[in-house]
């Protein structure tokens, strides 16, 4: 009976205050931990197409990127042209992309630049696979952080057959190919800038 009296209301309030203080301190420390965001490792990607169908957003937050320092600027671009297309031009019937999201621009004979219109891109990876098989593998998928709502449980990550999705620091949210000429499929590195920020034609000068 005496023991019960010893733990009175004042003790309870003190205990609660201590817990609240500890919680506040933990929260303060936790806030310093960097926020993580979802990203897709292009070296694990198998171009299954689920990024386009399994995102909670429509169209998907996963977009195709072109790594310009790897791109061959080919006239005969398999990422752009339908296999067996009769002409190498911008005709809709010749384009591989189901939403015509790739823009082909003449640079100089015989080189063309390919830029992704991200508003049209649905992240289906059709062009990524074609470029990987027949080209330089300069096309690859990334989650655009200005579109992604960063779900606690990413529905694409859950469906990804190759476990290519992982959380990365929000300060370096992109994983892009380095353009190492030793390998057409290069090791990825992180960046805070969207990969397409490196836009620019290949210099012909020595």
């Amino acid at each position: 009976m005496n023991e019960q009296v010893a733990f009175d209301r004042r003790d309870f309030i003190r205990g609660a205050a201590a817990v609240a203080f500890a919680g506040a301190a933990y929260t303060a420390v936790g806030d310093k931990t960097e926020q993580l965001v979802w990203q897709l490792d292009p070296n694990k990607c198998t171009q299954c197409g689920r990024c386009s169908t399994h995102c909670v957003l429509n169209p998907s937050a996963v977009k195709c990127m072109n790594q310009f320092n790897i791109c061959g600027y080919c006239d005969l671009c398999f990422g752009y042209l339908q296999p067996g297309s009769r002409e190498r031009d911008t005709g809709a019937e010749n384009q591989l992309c189901p939403t015509a999201a790739i823009k082909r621009t003449y640079i100089e004979e015989p080189y063309y630049e390919y830029v992704i219109d991200e508003k049209r891109c649905i992240g289906c990876a059709k062009c990524v696979k074609a470029c990987l098989v027949f080209g330089n593998a300069s096309f690859y998928l990334q989650i655009r952080q200005d579109v992604c709502i960063n779900c606690n449980e990413c529905s694409i990550a859950k469906a990804c057959p190759s476990d290519a999705f992982r959380r990365v620091p929000a300060s370096t949210p992109y994983i892009y190919l380095t353009g190492d000429i030793e390998s057409t499929k290069s090791q990825p590195s992180s960046s805070s800038q969207p990969p397409q920020a490196t836009l620019g034609p290949k210099s012909e000068t020595s």
Binding site: R50, T53, R88, C127, S206
Partner: protein, 364 residues
């Protein structure tokens, strides 16, 4: 009486509840509300892969295991096989046994051996010359720039040809490393179309007649040059069909057998094929893509003195050997791309009277 009625009802209710809970579980949690990707957003290359599922004149006859890190280049000469990899050039003798190992600094992209045993190893921006015992003789680097990327090398008498995919040019050096001629640069006055190299693949080979053949990978064909850089002839085969070259840049590697027949190797859908070099007529499949499951798995090809076709497979870390079948049928139906009964001609003979035609899937 009431108790007996309750006993009858309870199992039925329990069973129904169980079914409802299970159905709700599978509906809400066990199935995805997202559709699977349909055929419109699927890039299916099965149709292209199936093209080479045909009988061939050749069969795989074993392989030579390599103890080389990152093997990248293959050459034959004087009855020997040379394989270049990280920091080394390994020499295999008549019985495919390793007979020597030369040290080099770096990883050669290409290697060649002269008739006197001198070995030329092409690094990205320099050529290393070794004597027949592996001793360093000289290094050539003055004529290469930061954008150079050497991908092929061949020796023909007193000439050494070096392909630079980065600069899209072929250099002709003498045996002491003095630059003689630049070959393949665009020159309308000499009818030279210019080498297109969208990726780091640019191969060349010299046949038994001393003819220099250079791949123009962006144009998906070959060009023959004289030693002064003038062009002799050219043919291009951009096509997804078996008799052509698909992709952005093929063939990736070429070699000649003792009969002067051209052996080609492709990336993407990896295939080894045989052509008549002057006309560019397809003569048959050596090895189809089903033998090379991973893209870009062949780093180089060569044909040895016994006419064995050697393919450097980096994934297996081996040189795979293909030989003609002992009772090989005459596959005349494979000639001229007769998969569809059509003959393809796109040859240009550079004699002033141009002859050009294009009939293969893509215009160019």
């Amino acid at each position: 009486m009431n108790e007996s009625v309750r006993q009858l009802k309870r199992p039925w209710l329990a069973g129904a509840a169980l079914v409802i809970v299970a159905a709700a579980y599978f509906f809400l949690l066990g199935s995805s509300r997202y559709p699977e990707p349909g055929p419109n957003i699927e890039y299916n290359i099965q149709a292209f892969e199936d093209l080479d599922k045909i009988e061939t004149q050749f069969e795989e006859k074993g392989s030579i295991s390599l103890n080389v890190e990152n093997p990248r280049a293959l050459a034959v000469g004087q009855g020997k096989i040379y394989v270049a990899g990280k920091d080394s050039v390994v020499v295999f003798g008549e019985n495919d046994q390793e007979t020597a190992r030369f040290s080099v600094e770096g990883t050669p992209n290409c290697v060649a051996a002269a008739s006197d045993g001198t070995v030329y190893a092409g690094m990205p921006r320099r050529v290393v010359v070794l004597d027949d015992h592996g001793a360093l003789q000289s290094e050539w680097s003055n004529d290469f720039v930061s954008r150079s990327y050497l991908t092929s090398i061949a020796v023909n008498g007193s000439d050494v040809y070096v392909a630079d995919a980065g600069k899209r040019v072929v250099y002709r050096f003498d045996r002491k490393g003095a630059l003689q001629t630049r070959i393949g640069e665009k020159d309308a006055s000499r009818d030279v179309p210019g080498i297109e190299a969208p990726s780091p693949y640019l191969d060349l080979a010299v046949n038994n007649d001393g003819e220099l053949w250079v791949v123009n990978p962006g144009k998906l064909g070959l060009e023959q040059y004289r030693s002064d850089g003038s062009i002799v002839t050219s043919w291009y085969r951009p096509s997804l069909k078996l008799d052509g070259f698909p992709g952005c840049c093929n063939p990736t590697h070429i070699a000649f057998n003792s009969k002067g027949e051209l052996i080609t190797c492709e990336k993407g859908l990896v295939r080894v094929k045989k052509y008549e070099v002057t006309s560019g007529d397809f003569e048959g499949l050596v090895a189809g893509s089903k033998l090379f499951p991973q893209e870009q798995s062949l780093r180089d090809i060569a044909v040895d003195s016994r006419d064995r076709i050697l393919a450097l497979d980096a994934q297996r870390n081996a040189v795979r050997v293909f030989t003609r079948k002992e009772s090989s049928p005459q596959l005349s139906n494979q000639r001229h791309g007769s998969l569809d009964g059509k003959r393809y001609i796109s040859r240009t003979v550079h004699t002033g009277d141009e002859l050009e035609e294009n009939d293969h899937g893509f215009t160019g």
